[in-house]
């Protein structure tokens, strides 16, 4: 009965804040919903760790440790962002950035868009993770795009329209490729299972028969899935919509997009990867994945090196990390899969945190261009500025922060599997990314600052940042055992251990 509740909570929250009349109400609805959701997610993890696999609505919903992991991460990001959003939008009202430039009624109607859509957005992501049926999963993924398009247009600027259009069109094309892939998978399974029922598209069913599927069809299907869900995950060369969408969306939404949505897309990819590697041997999907993974790592380097806008910088970081995770998947094997799930966990925390800090900096300086900021954010924003630099170091894999560990695991897996070229490229691109990030963010945070008062402690925003900073730092040295077991058994599912 847990699974339906997890899905219903955000739906209800969305509906409520849609009819809500006052801002405070919408805020509290969201906060309560996401807090509840996080608790439910933790409960789900507990059950999954105990029972292994749980399912609801006679098999329509299905949660193994991988889905539990994704749900947990999504819930975490949702919670942090909902806390942050309160402070963020109040600040926006103070700065009068909404149409009409006035606080009050217009502001509330605009805010309704965010507070109503975000829960739906999160709902569809949860559905992706919990749906057993690959078709439903596709529908849910498409829904994530549709719900988030209007989050991208939130500020209604010309540029945000442009970004939204690119996001919608490219996303649409990508997902239709993924749909074709799904259809072909169904077709290749069709002859074996020979049933018309809904269950014949259930992953848990397919995975048991995957070995007998029609090989060529499966290859074709996997190509299409890779391109399709790859588009959603922002793997090069389908990554082009990402910087636009991330830099136009309001910061909390961008944070969710860049961490949780990425996870969902990869989740879809992983499900099909398991089928493909069962049907064909691991090599075929592995080679393709490595190709695209390394490509997207490489493509993000020059854009990080010469970047003028720090929100786009973060977007390219996300592309880089999508590449890293795809590479990990391509390396495969228990170690590679472990690296993937581990990296997914760490990246989600770090990247959302990074976006939130960027948001505070953005609101303080009223610009997201490096060029327009003299520097010295560390003086003007003692807390957010420091954390911004820290999180940047974390995201580019600097110890003691844990991304270094996961990247190390992935590299080790790659070397053990003998993918020397990809591994070396991984390291080289890593250095490039590091250079770009430290160059720009260092210049933003350090240095002499314009004269001006030191920013006070922002109750909502800073506490959200503080929360996930604490998580990030602790994870660097110590991972609670259940969390670790979850990650490892999720890795087990990826590498098709059981």
């Amino acid at each position: 009965m847990l699974l339906p509740t997890i899905l219903i909570v955000p739906l209800a929250a969305g509906a409520l804040s849609f009819v809500a009349r006052r801002r405070r109400l919408m805020e509290s609805v969201n906060l309560v919903a996401f807090a509840a959701l996080f608790i439910l997610a933790v409960a789900l993890v507990g059950q999954v760790l105990r029972a292994g696999v749980i399912s609801g609505w006679n098999g329509f919903l299905h949660a193994d440790s991988l889905s539990a992991l994704v749900v947990l991460l999504t819930a975490f990001v949702g919670l942090v962002c909902s806390i942050y959003a309160v402070g963020y939008f109040r600040e926006d009202e103070r700065n009068q950035v909404f149409e009409g430039g006035s606080a009050g009624a217009i502001a509330v109607s605009t805010l309704r868009k965010y507070y109503a859509l975000t829960p739906l957005f999160v709902f569809s992501m949860l559905l992706v993770a919990l749906a057993d049926n690959l078709g439903v999963m596709w529908v849910a993924l498409e829904a994530t795009t549709l719900t988030s398009v209007f989050l991208v247009t939130f500020y209604g600027r010309a540029t945000s329209l442009e970004a939204a259009w690119k996001y919608a069109i490219i996303g649409g094309v990508g997902l239709s490729m993924a749909l074709l892939g799904t259809i072909l998978t169904y077709y290749s399974a069709h002859n074996i299972l020979a049933t018309e029922t809904l269950a014949s598209l259930n992953w848990s069913v397919l995975v048991t028969h995957a070995a007998q599927f029609d090989k060529t069809t499966m290859k074709l299907a996997f190509i299409l899935i890779l391109l399709g869900y790859g588009t959603k995950a922002g793997v090069a060369p389908m990554h082009t919509w990402k910087p636009d969408a991330y830099s136009e969306a309001p910061v909390p939404a961008a944070a969710i997009l860049s961490s949780a949505t990425l996870n969902c897309a990869l989740y879809g990819l992983v499900r099909f990867y398991v089928l493909a590697s069962r049907c064909l041997d691991g090599n075929y999907p592995g080679r393709l994945l490595l190709l695209f993974g390394v490509l997207s790592m490489g493509i993000s380097v020059p854009f990080v090196l010469i970047q003028r806008n720090f929100r786009r910088l973060l977007a390219y970081h996300t592309i880089d990390h999508a590449g890293i995770m795809v590479t990990a998947l391509g390396v495969g094997g228990p170690l590679g899969a472990f690296g993937l799930t581990l990296h997914m966990t760490f990246h989600t925390v770090a990247k959302s945190l990074l976006f939130l800090c960027a948001g505070t900096v953005f609101q303080h300086f009223r610009t997201d261009l490096f060029g327009k900021i003299k520097g010295g954010a560390i003086r003007l924003l003692p807390f957010a500025g420091t954390v911004f630099f820290m999180a940047t170091l974390a995201i580019v894999g600097t110890p003691p922060f844990s991304l270094f560990q996961s990247e190390f695991v992935i590299l080790r897996a790659a070397f053990t599997a003998g993918h020397y070229v990809s591994a070396v490229l991984f390291v080289v691109f890593g250095v490039g990314i590091f250079a770009g990030a430290v160059l720009h963010v260092g210049g933003l945070v350090l240095g002499p600052s314009e004269p001006g008062p030191v920013a006070p402690w922002y109750p909502w925003r800073d506490s959200a940042v503080l929360l996930s900073t604490a998580v990030l730092v602790v994870m660097g040295f110590w991972l609670p055992t259940p969390m670790f077991d979850l990650v490892r058994s999720a890795a087990g599912i990826v590498s098709g251990a059981q």
């Binding site: 049926n133 439903v136 596709w138 549709l146 398009v149 010309a158 540029t159 329209l161 060529t216 069809t217």
Partner: protein, 228 residues
Amino acid sequence: MIFWQDPQFGNRLITMMAALVLVLQILMVAQRSIVGNIRGFGIQSFLLASIAATIAYFNHATQVYIVAALTLVFKAIVLPLILEQLVERIQIRQEIEPFLNAPLSVIVSGLLTLVAYIVAESLHRPEQGTAQTSLGHNTLAVALALFLIGFFMMLNRRKALTQILGLLSLENGLFLAAISLTYGMPLLIELGITFDLLVAVLVLGVLVYRIRETFDSMDVSKLSRLRG
């Protein structure tokens, strides 16, 4: 037996209609007026619906009738109406200026069809020569062709609306694949997909409308402010 119960006849019929769909698609590539394109899409959807119906009839697959009905209602009637209304709302020139001119575009679509056939060929399994698989590889080729050409339309056309049209005809390709390869996905999925499609069109429609307002032009190739 009487020919309207003979599955071979059914196959022919289906293949013929699939071919028609393909031809329509290529015509749409060459077509210059937006409204014409929309109508073309309507007819295409209608043909697809009837393909579905035929399959349902010959293979006695009842749930496919529902799929056919859905397609008829939504794709052949509702969507074209919405789109035409949109065209009314935003008074735009009825012209489509593609990047490649009509003859070139047609040649490209021909090549794409070729690609589709090559790919489908590699999936062809003569040894397990059931009606369905042979039907499969034939219509799969058409479906892929539809898909690719639809994609090509999207990147060949400047106007936002026409990109939506491309997306739709691309979706038609998917539909054809689904319906002909596997007698349609499970019903629930079909419903989901159709619903998604509808929402997508609405969302895109709204976007088109607002683009029109903000840029007073539909030319999305002008939307290139976000770089690097």
